[in-house]
């Protein structure tokens, strides 16, 4: 078999070596555009797992690398003068130059024909002359472009602008430095790769880069090998405190944009993509060289098992694609963190976050935790397994410093973040987990069923910080279905007063709700938003838009009706007050009446109640103000709203922040963030913590106490979201049919 490899980087060379080893009958040619010593870049980083794969695949080259590795365990975060280290990771890095030299020699030694300074203009010519053409020709692969009709590449420029540098200071950890300059934040990703060098990559958002005057160098005037000396001088000074007199070094260093490469297919006839040509993953989670060499191992193994090219390439793809998908997903999450972290810096993030009221931003322990858990695969429990002492220290910091616990008697073992107390306005909750009663759809004329009341009491006895009674309608017509419970008669109030009279319970809050365009539907046991066949009533909404197909057009709310809606909310709030509820939550979420005013998708009015976000807030604020007037000042008020419509042309992140800040200015002590259901066409997302991103925007953009619900199913999830500063309290739902704590309560006593 004749195999031609385009590109003499680590991926291409390693493929050549392994193919010659596994199938010595193979005629292997490597074509490389540059000279053998035209090497750019500094170190490349590997995980310990990859290292053992390299040892298995070719012990000879592995042994030659043995002396050249820099190995370390910790990740270090430097932020606002503090240093925090996390152990439990195993990394190794090597100089790209040394790696290439070893692979070049080894490739020749095993009989590959390695030709340098060989430019290939058209891969199609080669394709015809060889059995297999391996396109290891990098990020800007000409082969990928030539057959793009088959590969269907997707190139996405994302993240910040970055520059790849080195330094003669040897760091002893994978180090992240966050440096807040006057113009905005910069971050450096640093790791050692030899006994006298470290890789030092610096990133910043584009507006920061421009504000710093770093856009002055015309990159087109730099020939390959040149450095952006102005950038190096600027960064040398910016990071001087961390360099201890050492130098930043350039090697073909200039500002670049990150491009994520994906391909729908990796194979065209007898051409196969490998390494950066096939896929890239942002450097904040590892190196492309590692992926390319793993590709080489998989491809050569597949080719060693069969002479049949089709199955061999299929096997290579089936082996590698799922792993690459996983890495690219982790990279996406990592990029998302680096995009959002400027909002964790508070008012100091002058350029990146213009919001004026945020204080100082995250303290160093919380900031570091947030960075270390930016991948959804690393949560509180996972980080604890990697570094138990670190998580213990973080938990202690949170319980004793952030929350302000008892310093005289420090915790022997600090409680996890989910178990720390929190103040919601005037009410102190014992912990961060909120349980919601189950909406059983079994009310009669608005009166709660015995099952619903039992359910609320069981949860209130189960150790939650707060229990929420879901969706009590403020009037009969405000009910979504005839099976909804309400709080619109004295009998309803009496029923709840009896529940709340139970002692030794958690605080119990109530959601007051008006279904608006979602009213007059069949009980949800029969599905969602199916209009009543008989006995229906009039629906009201911001605009005459039916909520679901088949439901009648709602009446746009007028002055008179608003007065009635306000009066209903006030009467329900008074009943809630007199019944003894500890917290009141006004429902402006999920397509109900108040929600229909907030979203531009459902509020199409041209009067004073529609238009920009301030106008769309008019009606919800009228109701909020009226409720705040009668709700006692010593009990907290919450507003629940859909901070993201999950539909095109819905609320913007800016709208969500403005809405939350306005609710707070009007006396809300808590904002409960949910998303979607603005229309039936919403694009659902029900993955783990699916509202964490919008909650994070609201909490850290508006500086408000935030409750999040949605896909939070365990206390470990609560630990993660609370310590990471994404929310202050969380609704845990859906609960397992028999929650462990309930099972424990029911266990027979040992006597």
């Amino acid at each position: 078999m004749k195999v031609t490899i385009l590109g003499g980087g680590p991926g291409g060379l390693y493929t050549a070596i392994l193919l010659r080893r596994l199938r010595p009958d193979t005629d292997v040619t490597v074509l490389e555009r540059n000279a053998p010593d035209d090497t750019f870049g500094f170190g490349v980083v590997f995980s310990a797992a990859t290292l053992s794969e390299l040892e298995d695949a070719d012990p000879v080259s592995y042994d030659r690398m043995a002396g050249a590795w820099a190995r370390w365990d910790p990740v270090e975060v430097r932020y606002r003068g503090e240093v925090l280290r996390a152990g439990g990771n195993r990394f190794a890095a090597i100089s790209r130059h040394v790696l290439l030299r070893i692979l070049q020699e080894r490739a020749v030694e095993v009989g590959a024909d390695v030709r340098f300074r060989t430019e290939v203009d058209d891969p199609a010519g080669l394709q015809a002359e060889t059995d297999l053409l391996v396109a290891a020709d990098g990020l800007n692969s000409a082969t990928r472009r030539r057959y793009e009709h088959t590969f269907e590449p997707r190139l996405t420029v994302e993240g910040s602008t970055f520059i790849w540098l080195g330094t003669d200071k040897v760091f002893d950890a994978f180090t992240f430095i966050f440096q807040e300059a006057d113009v905005g934040p910069f971050q450096a990703h640093i790791y050692p790769f030899s006994d006298d060098r470290s890789t030092f990559i610096v990133e910043c958002a584009r507006p920061v880069w421009r504000a710093a005057g770093l856009d002055g160098t015309d990159a087109s005037t730099l020939v390959p090998g040149d450095n952006d000396e102005h950038a190096i001088a600027y960064l040398q000074e910016l990071f001087a405190d961390h360099l201890d007199g050492h130098q930043l070094l350039g090697n073909n260093s200039k500002w670049l944009d990150w491009t994520t490469v994906r391909n729908r297919r990796w194979r065209h006839e007898n051409v196969v993509l490998l390494g950066d040509a096939a896929h890239t993953a942002h450097f904040s989670i590892g190196s492309g060289t590692k992926l390319a060499m793993e590709d080489a191992i998989a491809l050569s193994r597949a080719l060693s098992r069969t002479d049949d090219l089709g199955p061999a390439i299929s096997a290579y793809e089936s082996d590698r694609r799922p792993q690459v998908d996983r890495i690219q997903e982790a990279a996406r999450e990592s990029l998302a963190w680096f995009d959002r972290y400027p909002r964790y810096l508070g008012t100091r993030a002058a350029v990146a976050s213009p919001t004026p009221t945020l204080g100082d931003g995250f303290a160093p322990p919380r900031f570091a935790y947030s960075l270390l858990t930016r991948s959804s695969r690393v949560d509180h429990d996972n980080l604890r397994r990697r570094d138990p002492d670190l998580v213990l220290a973080l938990d202690r910091w949170f319980a004793e410093v952030a929350v302000g616990g008892n310093h005289e008697r420090p915790h022997l073992l600090p409680p996890p973040p989910s178990a720390t107390p929190v103040d919601v306005g005037p009410l102190r909750l014992a912990n961060r987990a909120v349980l919601a009663g189950e909406d059983r759809q079994d009310a009669v004329d608005g009166a709660p069923s015995a099952a619903l009341r039992d359910d609320v009491l069981t949860r209130a006895a189960g150790g939650a910080g707060l229990v929420l009674v879901p969706r009590l309608a403020v009037s009969a017509d405000a009910r979504a279905t005839p099976a909804d419970a309400g709080l619109y008669t004295d009998a309803h109030a009496q029923a709840w007063r009896d529940v709340l009279a139970a002692t030794g319970r958690a605080p119990i809050g109530v959601q007051l709700s008006h279904a608006g365009p979602r009213a007059s539907m069949r009980p949800r046991t029969e599905g969602l938003d199916r209009p009543l066949r008989t006995g229906g009533w009039e629906r009201v909404a911001a605009s005459p838009l039916p909520y679901s197909p088949g439901s009648d057009t709602p009446t746009p709310l007028g002055d008179e009706q608003l007065a009635a809606v306000e009066a209903d909310h006030v009467a329900a709030a008074e009943r809630a007050r007199d019944a003894g509820f500890d917290l009141l939550e006004l429902d402006a979420a999920h397509g109900g009446l108040l929600a229909s005013f907030l979203s531009p998708l459902t509020n199409q009015r041209h009067d004073a109640w529609g238009g920009d976000v301030a106008a769309r807030l008019t009606v919800p604020l009228r109701v909020l103000d009226a409720v705040r007037d009668v709700w006692p000042q010593d009990r907290p008020l919450s507003v629940r709203f859909s901070a993201h419509d999950r539909a095109p042309r819905g609320l913007t992140a800016g709208d969500a922040v403005a809405i939350a800040a306005t609710f707070t200015a009007h006396g809300a002590d808590l904002v409960h963030v949910v998303s979607g259901q603005t229309t039936t066409r919403h694009l659902g997302d029900f993955s783990r913590w699916f509202n964490a991103e919008v909650a994070d925007i609201v909490r850290n953009g508006a500086g408000v106490t935030t409750l999040v619900s949605g896909g939070v199913t365990s206390v470990a999830d609560v630990d993660h979201l609370v310590l990471g500063g994404r929310a202050d309290i969380c609704v845990v739902a859906p609960l397992p049919a028999e929650p462990p704590w309930l099972a424990a309560r029911r266990a027979p006593s040992p006597s």
């Binding site: 990796w266 299929s314 799922p322 969602l528 197909p549 919403h682 659902g684 029900f686 739902a733 859906p734």
Partner: protein, 281 residues
């Protein structure tokens, strides 16, 4: 957890008598259901027709489409067929519906692939209305409509599931993947404010004993459209009694309500072999 078995109606070249007799054998062996896959451009039998044939030779076993590619069909005639099959079988049908994963089934169809998700949502709403209103249903039916389940784990698919159906059918694979998907299913159900707990079902493929090789070839062929993932899917084929029992235990622990084990070969002895692997005989 109930355990059902697939009919070999999706195995190319399966003889008609084997397909029909399979249902009788499945009922005798104690399986809870017989199930059918749906393809157009493939060498298989149409699922509603196959299940009708199965219904005619059995008394109690449940009949399941897992899944039916509903957007390929006109909604009123589909509603009529489904209602008729449910009525004629004495209320034994569970209709699993999804958009289907393969583009080629749509290529020859008058309904386009684009917008098929929205179309499925409309079909589900519409069929339920037609059945429950009594517009399209045999009046002698024992119930107003069959159980409805939706396949597909994407967010929009789960939103459809929670809006108008009774639960979810998972596309198979390891139990831990099902457990993750089930969390999202329960979340979608809860987010929508539906009371109670949705049904969560799944499936697996089996070729026991000497059939393992032929079974694997079938899997690679049937899932060829997934490209690099076909090998992984084929690796999930259950070929030993131990493998069957491990999968069943894993799914039961993960909260699955009903697991359907599909044959990857059309050898009728597989029915008894599977029952024996499950420890039923």
């Amino acid at each position: 957890m109930d355990i059902g078995i697939g009919l070999p109606a999706g195995v190319p070249g399966a003889p008609p008598d084997v397909v029909v007799d399979w249902a009788r054998r499945a009922e005798d062996a104690g399986f809870a259901s017989v199930a059918c896959v749906d393809r157009v451009r493939y060498d298989n039998y149409e699922p509603l027709i196959s299940l009708a044939a199965a219904a005619a030779v059995t008394q109690r076993i449940e009949l399941v489409t897992s899944i039916l590619i509903a957007p390929l069909r006109e909604v009123t005639t589909l509603a009529k067929q489904v209602a008729s099959l449910d009525a004629l079988s004495g209320g034994r049908l569970t209709l699993g519906a999804a958009i289907g994963a393969r583009g080629d089934d749509y290529e020859m169809n008058e309904f386009s692939k684009a917008g098929r998700g929205d179309r499925l949502a409309e079909q589900l709403d519409r069929m339920v209305e037609l059945w429950e209103d009594g517009t399209i249903t045999p009046s002698a039916a024992s119930r107003s409509r069959p159980r409805l389940l939706v396949g597909g784990a994407s967010g929009p698919s789960l939103a459809r599931m929670a809006r108008s159906t009774d639960g979810y059918i998972h596309n198979g694979g390891p139990a831990r993947g099902f457990a993750r998907a089930r969390d999202e299913v329960l979340t979608a159900w809860h987010e929508g404010g539906r009371p109670g707990t949705p049904q969560t079902w799944s499936m697996g493929y089996v070729a026991l004993g000497d059939a393992a090789g032929a079974g694997r070839d079938y899997m690679l062929d049937y899932y060829a459209f997934t490209g690099p993932y076909a090998v992984r899917i084929a690796d999930g084929l259950l070929t030993t009694p131990l493998g069957v029992r491990e999968l069943v235990q894993g799914y039961a622990d993960a909260g699955c309500d009903h697991l359907m084990l599909f044959p990857a070969v059309a050898d009728p002895d597989q029915v008894e072999a599977l029952a024996s692997a499950l420890g039923w005989s």
